[in-house]
């Protein structure tokens, strides 16, 4: 256990030292400022909007903005997670950073798990902080709060933790650059699945919606994000509820407990493949 904590702290310290972290922090401050600006003008004008019947403008504006913030938070969290983990095995081995650690009596599985924990210790507080900050901005500016406060944030954090695990898995087999490209392509595939789902919902096309749903579950970080989107307007019905399902970058889709269990199983599966690959890898 002591070695696990030592390596996790090593990874945490490495993560906080990297320029990627500073860049993400800078982008976050910029994003939150622009987000506040957007909220400010949107809710200033929302009272004067005469929407079609069945649409509650403040709910629509608030949920749309928080949904947008959730996408930005997910994206920034994924950038951070990928940059913290993309070189954890093969990249660090090529630079000679890994070998002095691996020869110590701690076991490769422990080392990999610790690296994941180190990355998660940086990414999940970051995601939760940005999520709650943007939600607070919308709540204080527009006097609208999501139907579920904590669950969407936790699901976003879990989605980023999953991406960190996928990136660690990639780092066992791919060089740093190849892994970075591969993980961002996988992330992009998830986003595309969400967009297809939105289109399928709007047309409506059951086949497209069904295909997008399967793709989102194959990449459960996307399904977690969609479930989080659903949670912010879980109690919203009528036309407002329908339109919110067309939300930005992937519509809200309920996943529930089954999805959360699947995400946990998926994490275990990714970890098992990564550990098996790492244990057989010559360094």
């Amino acid at each position: 256990m002591r070695e696990l904590v030592t390596i996790a702290r090593y990874g945490l310290r490495e993560g906080l030292r990297r320029k990627a972290f500073a860049v993400v922090l800078l982008l976050t401050v910029l994003f939150l400022f622009l987000y506040w600006l957007g909220d400010h003008y949107l809710f200033r004008d929302v009272a004067h909007i005469q929407p079609p019947e069945g649409i509650e403008p403040r709910t629509f504006a608030g949920a749309f903005m928080v949904g947008l913030a959730m996408f930005a938070t997910l994206f920034l969290g994924v950038v951070l997670a990928v940059f913290l983990t993309l070189a954890a095995v093969r990249g660090d081995a090529e630079r000679g950073l890994l070998q002095p650690l691996v020869v110590r009596p701690l076991g490769r599985s422990k080392l990999l798990v610790a690296r994941w924990l180190g990355a998660v210790a940086v990414c999940t507080p970051y995601v939760l902080a940005v999520y709650f900050a943007s939600m607070a901005i919308t709540g204080l500016t527009g006097h609208w709060w999501p139907d579920r406060i904590a669950t969407p944030g936790i699901e976003l954090a879990a989605a980023v933790a999953l991406v960190a695990a996928i990136s660690l898995l990639g780092s066992v087999f791919l060089s740093s650059i190849a892994n970075g490209i591969a993980v961002f392509m996988v992330f992009g595939a998830g986003i595309v699945a969400g967009l297809l789902g939105t289109i399928g919902h709007a047309l409506p096309s059951r086949t497209l919606s069904h295909g997008a749903r399967i793709a989102a579950w194959i990449l459960p970080f996307e399904a977690l994000y969609e479930d989080g989107l659903h949670e912010i307007t879980a109690d919203t019905t009528s036309l407002t509820g329908f339109l919110l399902r067309l939300g930005p970058f992937g519509g809200a889709e309920q996943g529930g407990t089954t999805l959360r269990l699947w995400a946990a199983a998926y994490l275990v599966l990714v970890a098992a493949v990564a550990l098996a690959g790492f244990s057989r890898r010559d360094l």
Binding site: T6, I7, P100, V102, V103, P105, L106, R280, L283
Partner: protein
């Protein structure tokens, strides 16, 4: 007691390339063994198998009686890789502290201070590694390998970036370790270093050990040189035992003898003969 390192019929294949083709090597406790060979001979692969970084395709390797790569085997060894790096934002002291935790060493600050003193880095104790010269980083690498008092030390090119003073420091350190019973497998291209400190030498070529023995066993007589007033006379077929008779004959013949040198082949001669001029 089990030897510090015992490799039997080790074979390692990387795809179609056979890096090791049945290597047998034993390093006893307190023994300093030098591993020589051209680039690509399999030296680093052998060392990496011993410390568990590489899995053998066939054969076995044991460290202090435990399967190489197992946690118990790794707890017995210290390793310095040929290419290694420490996180630049760590100080020398923090690097050693990190490795103390991973090696489950309870030596604390006293051990760290002693190791930094051994490699002449006491002054740089609180300096960040990113500011270190190559030689300083290599000496820190040696100190790191010694964390937790290992019974077997595996050093892959430990003096390649060192200046003559640094090399001497490491050489004296290795001699001190041998006196404490630590076994050392030293992989180096620096023949003079190996010749000076090693009890035994193994020369690898194309994944096989082609020559092994102590430097004295490996060296061959190359004649006798006698310096006289008339110049240097060389007796190519003579040996050490012939020296008294040769000197007596010269003195009887009225020559003045100023010096006698018994010639033998150096490790470099042995090496070149073994590898046949191969470089990679």
């Amino acid at each position: 007691m089990a030897p510090a390192l015992a490799a039997e019929r080790l074979v390692k294949r990387y795809g179609r390339v056979e890096a090791l083709r049945g290597v047998d090597l034993t390093v006893e406790e307190g023994e300093l063994v030098g591993l020589l060979g051209p680039n690509g001979a399999g030296k680093s692969t052998l060392v990496k198998i011993a410390c568990g970084l590489v899995r053998p395709s066939k054969g076995s390797a044991e460290v202090c009686g435990h399967r190489a790569g197992s946690l118990t085997a790794r707890a017995q060894l210290g390793y310095l890789a040929e290419l290694f790096r420490f996180p630049g934002w760590y100080t020398a002291d923090e690097v050693l502290e990190l490795h103390q935790k991973l090696a489950r060493s309870d030596g604390g600050a006293a051990e760290r201070a002693e190791l930094l003193e051994l490699v002449a880095l006491s002054e740089a104790r609180h300096r960040r590694v990113e500011g270190f010269s190559k030689g300083m980083a290599q000496r820190l690498g040696v100190a790191q390998a010694l964390v937790g008092r290992p019974r077997l030390l595996l050093l892959d090119e430990p003096t390649s970036a060192l200046d003559p003073v640094g090399r001497r420091t490491v050489r004296e350190l290795l001699e001190g370790l041998r006196d404490r019973g630590v076994a050392v497998l030293l992989n180096s291209h620096l023949l003079s270093e190996i010749e000076l400190v090693c009890d035994r030498v193994a020369i690898l070529l194309d994944g096989r050990i082609v020559t092994a023995g102590s430097p004295a066993e490996l060296s061959k007589p190359r004649g006798v040189e006698i310096e006289t007033a008339a110049g240097i006379r060389t007796y190519e077929t003579a040996g050490r035992e012939d020296v008294p008779a040769l000197v007596a004959d010269l003195v009887a013949a009225g020559e003045r003898v100023y010096g006698v040198r018994v010639l033998s082949s150096t490790l470099e001669d042995v090496y070149l003969e073994a590898v046949g001029g191969e470089t990679s």
